[in-house]
Amino acid sequence: MQQMQVADDGFTERVMSRLPDGRALRLSRLWTALCLTVAVVLFVLLRGWEMIGYGLLMLTNCPPTQGQVLLTAVSFVVIGYLMVSDFLWRERLRAL
């Protein structure tokens, strides 16, 4: 059966102009990978496991100092920010 052919008439150009920017997507992924790499390297170089162990030991033995509370609060803020921005980014992609 002969199928009806629909002429392009600028349709392809309209689609191409609506595509999300691949460069921004690539940069975002690159930035995430870079941050993750830096975090892992710092964790290994600074023996992060010892600091965590020491922190936990101190918490059980004596009440935390003001500096420790501040450090914990900063950590939660950073982790929270990363989780929210990741969620927003995924939602943006889903909406496309």
Binding site: Q3, F11, T12, P20, G22
Partner: protein, 179 residues
């Protein structure tokens, strides 16, 4: 375009975000995708183009999920089907389609064969129309329709049978009898 060539272009889009490769895919497949939507919207060109654009944008953002097991057109039609399904689920869509059907019914006197076919298609249920147009207009085999709509083959067969009976009755009543 061969499946290997499609897979090669899709890989270039997924890995390098090569827009030129995607441009080639859009040019190649815009006609069947737009024809699919023209059949579902019963000839509403602007709505069909909007939905076809959504389909290609979704294909671009999810192109990493195309692995070449089915043809690129089948994969694209599956996305188009999902876009159409989402659209018909929205309240706005029901209103538009209902208005369009009323509009077409009112214009029967000016129409030719195409108008009669669209009026006949308007009598069908959504899933019957989908299967009928995919088989008779787009030329898909029954197993491909089942794959795209994710319905069992026997369900597709019975939808086609019922849809064809309704179409034949309508066309017979409107002077398209063979005799």
């Amino acid at each position: 375009m061969g499946r290997l060539n499609d897979l090669s272009l899709a890989t270039q889009v997924a890995v390098f975000h090569n827009k030129r490769a995607f441009d080639q895919l859009v040019r190649e497949y815009q006609s069947p995708v737009r024809r699919f939507f023209l059949s579902q919207t019963m000839g509403n060109e602007s709505l069909s183009d909007d939905l076809a654009q959504d389909t290609f944008v979704k294909a671009y953002t999810h192109i990493g999920q195309y692995h070449g097991t089915a043809s690129f057109l089948t994969w694209l039609t599956r996305i188009a089907y999902n876009v159409w399904y989402d659209y018909t689920r929205s309240e706005r869509a029901h209103l538009d389609v209902a208005e369009q059907m009323a509009d077409r019914a009112g214009r029967t006197a000016d129409g030719g064969t195409m108008m009669d076919i669209y009026n006949a298609l308007a009598l069908l249920r959504d899933d019957e129309r989908l299967c009928i147009t995919m088989q008779l207009i787009d030329g898909y085999a029954i197993d491909e329709i089942a794959q795209i709509t994710q319905k069992p083959v026997n369900t597709v067969k019975s939808l086609l049978k019922r849809g064809k009976e309704k179409l034949a009755n309508y066309l017979r009543q409107n002077g398209y009898d063979r005799s």
